[in-house]
């Protein structure tokens, strides 16, 4: 085990007794090791505190009564439930009951789709746009996709940054507006955005949902050729489409 692996194992909680001793002695004797470890520990604490702060701020906005009317249940919700059940049961067994001789694009879509998780919002710039941006992302985080779609579309006209199109597209997919999502994703990919591989994966799924199977296959092939993000799932789905 090299030094990086030792530190990783510490954070994973998987240090064996022998490794633990090695880890402790390095902490005492090796300044570089100590520094590297302390930085990662600070990063962990910083993330935890930041996340607590964000959660608390979110909870503070919740009153006894809802301030904003609850968005009506999306037709998407039962699909999501089905998708999580599929994840819990394992794809194999679940698929078995539903498989038919024809490719069922809807079923495959449900099986493979889950919304992109927004982790921490990107840095904000001017005040007015900041506000719009944080409202858009918080609607996205809260799963209020109907408000999110309006906010992202407004944001897109004010700030022409590619990642906004990416999130906008995911929201459209959630709302089952795949034609619009496809336009945005294709544009994002052509601009070589940072999340290009993620966008390709979602584009393949939108193609699938609109029964453009050969386009979906092409996207998957490109993704597979890059040998990175979603490689395994892309290969699996590609096989299902044959």
């Amino acid at each position: 085990m090299n030094k990086t692996d030792l530190i990783n194992a510490y954070f994973e909680g998987s240090l064996s007794e022998t490794d633990k001793k090695k880890f402790e002695s390095l902490l005492e004797t090796d300044a570089e090791f100590r520094q590297a470890f302390h930085f990662e520990k600070e990063l962990q604490t910083a993330l935890k505190k930041e996340k607590r702060k964000q959660t608390k701020e979110f909870l503070k906005t919740l009153g006894d009564k809802e301030k904003t009317p609850r968005s009506k249940k999306l037709s998407f919700v039962p699909w999501l439930a089905a998708a999580s059940i599929a994840i819990l049961m394992g794809f194999g067994t679940w698929w078995f009951y539903f498989s038919s001789t024809e490719v069922n694009t809807d079923m495959l879509y449900v099986q493979y789709y889950s919304p992109y998780e927004n982790v921490i919002h990107p840095i904000e710039r001017s005040d007015q746009i900041t506000d719009l941006q944080s409202r858009a992302f918080s609607a996205y985080d809260m799963g209020d996709y109907e408000s999110a779609v309006e906010l992202f579309e407004e944001l897109r006209t004010k700030r022409n940054e590619p990642y906004i199109s990416f999130y906008n597209a995911i929201v459209l997919m959630q709302l089952d507006q795949h034609e619009k999502a496809i336009v945005l994703l294709e544009e994002y990919i052509s601009l070589n955005g940072e999340l290009k591989d993620r966008a390709q994966w979602y584009l393949a799924l939108s193609y699938l949902k609109t029964k453009r199977i050969s386009d979906a296959k092409d996207q998957l092939d490109e993704l597979i050729a890059q040998d990175g993000f979603m490689l395994k799932k892309a290969k699996e789905l590609r096989r299902e489409l044959e």
Binding site: F11, E40, E50, L59, K60, E117, G228, K232
Partner: protein, 185 residues
């Protein structure tokens, strides 16, 4: 949704689920916590902290084999926090209905109660993170915050090789350090 599904969503930090639990039990929690004679404002604060502890404990897998309802667990956390708040720590406050916490659960709750804000350096780290690309924020958060292992990140993101994840993470750490250093200059 079954309680198992709710716990699964909590682990993911799903805001809809947080909101649902928060609103569902709020009134009853206030009634239940009446005995501590705290101000409503403080109770609100305690209830929110209890929700944060609930989420963090779920993420640490503490709720995987929960022998009671989510509500009982949440109220036990809230009760511990209310006692602490009222500086009324009596050793015999446990009743047989309370959930028995382990060492790690106490650590989580105590650290939330301390409510330390970000240090100067930690603030710099967060600022640096916000300037990073999505991919770096994603991988660093999954590993250091969500507590996923390299292997879990590999399968969640569909990579076929652990080394890809490891080297990506190393690159991100390096550029985060550089960002912070540049800020300091």
């Amino acid at each position: 949704m079954s309680e198992g599904d709710v716990i699964f969503q909590l682990k993911k930090g799903d805001r809809d689920t947080l909101k649902k639990i928060y609103l569902e039990h709020k009134r009853e929690f206030f009634k239940f916590a009446n005995r501590f004679h705290l101000k409503d404002m403080d109770l609100e604060d305690i209830y929110q902290d209890a929700m944060i502890a609930l989420m963090e404990n779920a993420q640490k897998g503490k709720m995987d084999d929960l022998g009671c309802s989510i509500k009982t667990y949440l109220f036990s956390i809230g009760k511990y926090m209310a006692y602490n708040h009222a500086r009324n720590k009596s050793k015999t406050y446990h009743t047989k209905d309370d959930y028995v916490f382990d060492k790690h659960e106490y650590e989580t709750m105590d650290s939330i109660l301390e409510n330390e804000s970000l240090s100067f350096y930690q603030k710099k780290i967060v600022d640096g993170l916000k300037k990073m690309g999505n991919k770096c924020r994603e991988i660093l958060t999954l590993f250091y915050y969500s507590g996923l292992t390299i292997e879990e990140i590999m399968s969640a993101q569909g990579y076929e090789n652990k080394n890809t994840v490891k080297s990506q993470k190393s690159r991100c750490l390096k550029s985060l350090k550089e960002l912070i250093k540049k800020e300091n200059e």
